[in-house]
Amino acid sequence: ASKRNLLFQVSAALKEGRVTPTELCQRCLSLIKSTKFLNAYINVAEETALKQAEESEQRYRRGQPLGVLDGIPVAVKDNFNTAGIETTCASNMLKGYISPYNATVVQKLLDQGAVLLGKTNLDEFAMGSGSTDGAFGPVRNPWSYSRQYKEKSVPKSPSEARECTWVIAGGSSGGSAAAVSSFTCFAALGSDTGGSTRNPAAHCGVVGLKPTYGLISRHGLIPLVNSMDVPGILTRCVDDAAVVLGSLAGHDPKDSTTVQDNFKPFELPNVIDVSKLSIGIPKEYHAPGLSSEILSLWSKAADLFKNAGAKVIEVSLPHTPYSIVCYHVLCTAEVASNMARFDGLEYGHRSAVNKSTESMYAATRREGFNDVVRGRILSGNYFLLKQNYEHYFIKAQKVRRLIASDFVKVFSSGVDVLLTPTTLREAVPYMEFIQEDNRTRSAQDDILTQAANMAGLPAINVPAALSERGLPVGLQFIGRAFQEKQLLTVAKWFEKQVKFPVIQLEEMKRHDQGVFQHQQSASFS
């Protein structure tokens, strides 16, 4: 097996009895405890996880595991419904809300024997790019505590100064990215509406896959923008992303927007030839604010492909610059609509104000939502007003179509995969990040990832290198619709070339020598 194929290796270890699902689960749970300061999890489902691990163990004992995922500890972003485990969307509105059903993707993971450790932190209702705007506080990027970052960036100073240097995890699936990055789970689900899986994956140095819209069921994912939301996959390597994708993809009768075609799970080849490929470099992704470090990394990556015989060509996606403003209109409009159900009547928070139904609604929503959510609801409703609908919503839909057709043109010209940066720069310290508001931040941070959502295309972040400050930087590949296999194959080849370093979490190592070593050896032995 490939050295980077973590899930297959763990699965083999489980089959051979070198480790049991319960041991694996316990190690992860203890790591979650020792990394509590990361705030990656909102809710840890210790009891049910151990029960699931026990069931898995019995299956292994009988020699009848359900597949590669049987006994594998996973985490799920807290905007997916999980029966019996609180689902909060990091919002006061849903604090304490226990859903009666599992999202289709959660059910599929459980059906294949995965052990659900808990629910990961996010920006409230997935609205943000830092995982800093949730009701349960910000997620801390595990790399803030790595030897690599400390050596390069952190002044050898009192703890107060160090407290100010921790960097954000990116968002909105920051909890899932941090969980995977800090070895507390082997794979995690995120969601991706404008980059919410790829952005934190880039900042946390993990693989983040946003599949094609319609390939994976959204049933049970609490929506941000229905027409762009896709469940995302966060793993430590590309092969693992392919495994998880294979376990989740396919038509769901409960989601009418999933495609009817049968999906065949695939394994990625170990020997990959990129010489016949055409890699497109969209010039518009050389966006204002792109750090020179990332720019040079991007061009080095292009050279890698060139040197391997691939055709690397500059292409143009001319409508890219309009995507942010277009996204703003479409996103807020759907948000305004989707959030209308949170009125305190059927579930969730209900205000004590009860003078009238209307005053109860108003107070419930004021108390339940943060400023970011309320702001988006307000602008969305503005865009949907009769007098504004044509000027904003319809126009934005037209621009969206232009953005999507940009991609169609480029791909039909013979380009196989696009190569772009995932983020403009590496993760910034929290104290710096919160200097600007969520809206500004989201506009800046989604700029390179969002167009793929507009067009519904598959895209993946692959960790590429560490920055001068010792923080991960990732690059993004965007593929043709439903051509995940090709996209992941290219991503795997690239991953192999760059040999992204392993995070060295010394504090955690002290806390739990055993787990860390096991996981490290599993990944990189």
Partner: protein, 501 residues
């Protein structure tokens, strides 16, 4: 009761046999001829008023499950017992379109001569209300499933069943949409209780153009629609159970002038009240205008106890429904024989032509066939169709008797039906079965009894004591005497008696 009106009510038409209520008496109203055209008003030289009536009819689709969820549809189930996660708008749930509802709408569209849109779209209509859990209703605002149809209906003129006119109202569109739940306001405890059983049930909204001019016309049109829906089985269309709900848009204007400001009248739960509400509203608007007032574009509720319309308070503010495409449902694509792709799973598509071929006879066709086949009068065919099961009863009687259908119909419509009406029974509950009525009519037809006797026998049969007509005739000695000698003897006896005196 009404001041300042310069026009006189002329009862220009009679209500159909559909049990429509008495005409509003003593209420002056606009004068018009049978076709609803305005008549010169007379004295003051003021042009008369032309009332304009359009309708929005919500018909609950008769289906096992709801429009977008698997919950059962059932009237008067225990509160909140038919609520799926989607119906309660639990976060993360998605709509899945019910094929049966689509077929019902296509059927209805075809029956109403609509063109069926091969591609229609769903939209969200937003407003906050306790019985609308998602905060929006999924409907078809931009491109509905069926458009540009027509509905022909008939009504009687001048009280005479024999003078029927047929009119046509254009159908603007039929759209699929979700029903809301029900709010029950408990004023004493100042609580609102919400029942979501109805939330998400499929509705067809049938929008009729303002081609009608009075309550009677509107009621006749809705009655015909109701019969069509029931024939198709696309809706049970029982108004009393809320399966058919009618909102009326009413305005008045002078001939040659643009339409007046319209009001929308809601809360109408019977055909009788529909006619009443519209006529009241027309009259109210005329008076208001003639007194120098203006008509507000408002929603009014019909108060059946007071017989008038009143402004609805909670709908006062102007609503902006902030329509938006429903992102979780792809466009609804329908096929016909031509466009049907090869190798497609027939369970997954709706084929318009297939539905068209299987449409049952519509009421108008059924009536024509009855007239042709049995030689009965057209108005009798209306009466037969107007009550569920009556046609079948009639045909069963005809089959079992030698009496001509033209005569049979009189016994059913005049005699039996009046008994039923008196006792508020439907034909299906009739204590007189079709076979005993046939036996009775055979006795009459064979001149074994007189028609007076036959009526007596019918009265006996109505008691439902299980006796056959023949037994009743014998018991009561109602036979006509056929024996010449016996008759002569009786006559002789009478004459003899006379002589003796």
């Amino acid at each position: 009761a009404v001041r300042g009106s310069r026009v006189v009510w002329r009862q220009a038409w009679q209500r159909g046999a559909g049990g429509l209520g008495p005409a509003p008496r003593g209420q002056p109203a606009v004068a018009r001829n049978a076709r609803g055209r305005a008549q010169p008003a007379g004295k003051c030289g003021l042009a008369p008023w032309v009332p304009v009536v359009g309708l929005e009819v919500h018909a609950q689709i008769s289906s096992n499950s709801k429009l977008f969820s698997g919950s059962q549809v059932q009237f008067s189930a225990p509160p909140n017992s038919l609520v799926s996660f989607f119906d309660a708008s639990l976060p993360g749930t998605l709509p899945v379109l019910n094929r049966r509802c689509v077929e019902a709408a296509v059927m209805t569209g075809l029956a109403l001569n609509c063109s069926i849109n091969k591609k229609s779209l769903f939209d969200r209509k937003h407003y906050f209300y306790a019985d609308l859990p998602a905060g929006y209703q999924i409907t078809q605002q931009r491109v509905p499933i069926a458009v540009n149809g027509s509905l022909s209906y008939s009504l009687c003129i001048d009280n005479k069943m024999s003078q029927m006119v047929t009119k046509t109202v254009r159908i603007k569109q039929i759209q699929l949409e979700q029903d809301s739940g029900k709010s029950l306001h408990d004023d004493t405890r100042s609580q609102t209780l919400v029942d979501l059983n109805r939330a998400g049930v499929g509705l067809m909204e049938v929008v009729m153009e303002p081609d009608m001019c009075c309550g009677e016309e509107a009621a006749a049109a809705v009655r015909e629609l109701q019969l069509i829906l029931q024939t198709l089985g696309s809706s049970q269309a029982v108004m009393a159970e809320g399966q058919l709900r009618v909102d009326a848009n009413v305005s008045v204007h002078h001939p040659g002038e643009p339409y007046g400001v319209r009001t929308e009248v809601k809360n109408i739960n019977s055909l009788r009240f529909l006619a009443k509400a519209i006529d009241y509203e027309i009259q109210r608007q005329i008076e208001e205008l003639e007194n120098g007032g203006t008509i507000l574009n408002e929603t009014r509720a019909f108060d059946s106890k007071l017989g008038c319309t009143v402004p609805m308070r909670d709908k006062e503010g102007k609503q902006d429904y902030r329509f938006m495409p429903e992102p979780n449902l792809p466009p609804l694509i329908l096929y016909d024989a031509k466009s049907l792709p090869a190798n497609i799973n027939h369970q997954q598509v709706v084929n318009i032509d297939w539905i068209h071929e299987r449409l049952p006879d519509l009421p108008s066709v059924k009536r024509a066939k009855l007239v042709e086949h049995y030689g009965i009068l057209p108005e009798h065919s209306f009466a037969l169709l107007n009550e569920d099961g009556l046609t079948e009863f009639f045909e069963a009687v005809v089959k079992q008797t030698q009496m001509r259908p033209k005569k049979v119909i009189g016994w059913i419509l005049n005699d039996l039906l009046s008994y039923l009406k008196q006792h508020s029974l439907t034909i299906k509950e009739s204590p007189v079965s079709s076979s005993s009525l046939a036996d009775l009519l055979n006795l009459l037809e064979n001149k074994e009894i007189s028609s007076t006797a036959a009526k007596q026998v019918l009265a006996e049969l109505w008691k439902g004591e299980g006796k056959s007509p023949l037994e009743i005739v014998k018991e009561k000695k109602l036979e006509l005497m056929q024996d010449q000698n016996q008759l002569e003897e009786i006559c002789q006896a009478v004459i003899d008696g006379q002589e003796n005196e």
